[in-house]
Amino acid sequence: MDFTFSEEEEALRDEVQAFIKDNFTEEVLADLTTGKRGRGFGPKAAPIFRKIAERGWNAIVWPKAYGGQGGSRITQFLVEEEFYRAAQVVIGGGGTGTPAVLASGTEAQKQHYVPAAIRREIIFCQGYSEPHCGTDLAGVRCRATRTGEGDDIHYVVNGQKIYTTNAQVATHIFLLVRTDPESRRHAGLSILLVPMDTPGITVRPLLTVQNEPGGPAGTTYGEERTNEVFFDNVKVPASCLLGEEGDGWAVSQRGLNLDRVGAWRYLISVKRDEDIVNWLKSGDERAAPLKDDAAVRDKVAELWIEGQVCRLMTMRSMTIEQRGQAFNYEGAAEKVWAPEHGVRTTEAIGQMLGPHAQLLNGSPDNVQDGLYAHNLLSAFQSTVNHGSVQVMRDQIARKGLGLPKPRK
């Protein structure tokens, strides 16, 4: 067992913090915040991402052959944590697209997508959920029909996706489709990497409860919009198929371990623990009596300790990844514990602040620009997306503990 980062990693942390201090000016932070809220990154943000990519910081863990550093998962985590803390931006190319391309792509696909994703010339959005199915993704209906011959073999996609975050800024959609019309459930699905500028794709915004007013910087669950994406006879070259046709379920699972865990999930779940302690110590006159209240102190300590468990579970997931092992139930456990902790903290803070916890950004008398009110609006979101806590518990019980499936 070893519970510290190495000296080299701590030196890198210093370097990253210095970089943030030098580069994250007020203007840049404003651009990053609006970008993070789903309005697209402003002009000040682009050069920052370029500089980060030049330093290799968003691709530490990816293979050298595709423009990465071939480094450690732990180091990657450390760097991602600093950037998320500074401006709630996810700098790792992580997410759904690139790891899956690395896990299942052809050599040509890896060469095409990975270096470009590192340079942020390719940005994926995730096309999984459909209006009638989210948690139970095996019910996907969006259709892709293979036609043509010779050089013109292609798929024609028809259907709809929903809640497609960042579809308005993405260059590509990582699309789960049904390629075999006769198939049911997990069989007959495929993954297509579809350029968003292909004719026949329509993006329609879906505004969230965070839309008006938008949350202040530091809101951890602050997405203001997501999207519906409609596919009307969209012609996609066969070269966009990732993995084998009909193997889409496995392709979507492979390389996606880190979708549910890591710096981003960790920080959205625990940032409040730090914020409330720091606010209680801030000298705000509303904080002073709370700071000495025995019930508040007990609660704050309880939540802080829960936050430590979030951190250690994240470190456990990173350890497993770094050792090159596969998760059994550990990723699912983290995906239950951390989001539910985030909810408990958010709601407990609400009770500590009392009526002030309702006051949104821009309201008179609000606390920290309404940060805590905005988190109250959507902390629970993290318990639904990327595998709801209900199905995550199913996985823990069945895979981790070997409990039987219900008889039908």
Partner: protein, 384 residues
């Protein structure tokens, strides 16, 4: 950063698990509860023969010199099998003596490693407060002696221990520690009857004359010694508690896979599955926290807050797990002839020993709120 046991740690853990499974059977545990000594001398001898009593003691004291995380894993496994042996008290006192004791006291550790000398420790006063402030027992200097008056409570293994590491308030000098011969005149132990049916006792001191050679460390080091004693004790109690709780959870999972109701194993019902998932998360959390605390203690880093975090979490969650295991067992788990209760009763007791949830949270809250500067998870806190 690699927070899971490595190969060597896993090997020791598995070896200990097999040993305790074979040697510390429920029948042995039941027999020890009926024995006035409350422990199995035969099992103690076997543990000593394996060299495990010295697992994390320095080599110059006859130990194996392995990091403290190994002692933690050993206690997890002993706890898993609710082994009726005075392992916790002996290891805690021995670790403090190895670090702070005189040459003569350190020499005693060879007897400890051989299994010939059982140790206990005494921290709490009549209020039961878990604190290194050593309230409730005073020491007055008289020539070459210190005279102790007052009481210590919840001293586990007192009756069988040859020496007891006692915290007291030295007149004018603050907190101090002494290694007291348990046969000293004026020292009287009274057995408690605990939920665990274990060997905790109250110890009253009536003008107990302790030679100055029995004092542990320089007077000025008293507070640091008391801090170490409390940290080792609470951390290793958490290890023992987490080990017992993991086994308890496994009983419930095994039972849920077999017991049928409404035409299927109850473990197929989502309500039971989700409860089991939460039980696993809780045990894992306690284990991760205590591993970090022990690792920091071993590295000589400040660890009191990490210890409090671990004990507060485990104290809260382990009883949730054990109570849920009872729930899953329905009526049978409540019956004396069924073994589950052996674990439940100990988990209740151990979650209350070496500091309650409330007390440990107070330490964490003070470190969070009374120290200047902003806090950040992952950056250690300093005790207030």
């Amino acid at each position: 950063m690699d927070v899971l046991p490595d190969e060597q740690e896993t090997l020791i853990q598995e070896t200990a698990r097999e040993f305790f499974a074979a040697e510390s059977t429920p029948a042995l545990v039941r027999a020890a509860e009926k024995d006035p000594s409350r422990y199995s001398a035969a099992l103690w001898k076997k543990i000593a023969d394996l060299g495990w009593l010295g697992i994390s003691l320095p080599e110059d004291c006859g130990g194996q010199g392995l990091p403290l995380t190994y002692a933690g894993l050993l206690l997890e496994e002993a706890g898993r099998a609710i082994a009726p042996v005075p392992l916790h008290g002996t290891l805690v006192a021995a670790l403090v003596l190895a670090r702070h004791g005189s040459a003569a006291q350190r020499a005693l550790l060879r007897q400890v490693v051989q299994g010939e000398l059982i140790l206990s420790f005494a921290v709490q006063g009549l209020q039961g407060a878990w604190s290194p402030a050593a309230e409730g027992l005073t020491g007055r200097a008289e020539g070459e002696y210190v005279v102790l008056n007052g009481s210590r409570t919840f001293v586990d293994g007192f009756r069988e221990s040859g020496h007891c590491l006692v915290l007291y308030q030295a007149e004018g000098d603050g907190v101090a520690a002494a290694l007291v011969d348990t046969t000293s005149a004026g020292m009287r132990g009274t057995d408690y009857v605990t939920t665990a049916k274990d060997s905790q006792a109250r110890v009253d001191f009536d003008n107990v004359r302790v030679p100055k050679s029995a004092l542990v460390g320089e007077p000025a080091r008293g507070a640091a010694i008391a801090r170490d004693l409390c940290d080792y004790a609470a951390a290793l109690m958490t290890s023992q508690l987490a080990g017992a709780t993991r086994r308890d959870m496994e009983f419930a999972v095994e039972y849920a896979g077999q017991r049928e109701a409404f035409g299927q194993p109850i473990g197929a019902f989502q309500a039971i599955q989700h409860l089991c998932a939460d039980m696993l998360i809780a045990v894992d959390g306690a284990e991760l926290l205590v591993h970090e605390a022990l690792w920091r203690l071993d590295q000589g880093l400040p660890a009191s807050i990490e210890v409090s975090q671990a004990k507060a979490f485990a104290g809260d969650k382990c009883i949730f797990v054990a109570r849920s295991a009872q729930q899953i067992h329905g009526g049978i788990g409540f019956m004396m002839e069924f073994d589950l209760q052996l674990w439940y009763r100990r988990i209740v007791a151990w979650s209350l020993r070496c500091g309650s949830v409330r007390e440990h949270r107070q330490q964490v809250a003070a470190a969070l709120l009374e120290q200047p500067g902003k806090v950040r998870l992952g950056m250690p806190l300093v005790p207030a």
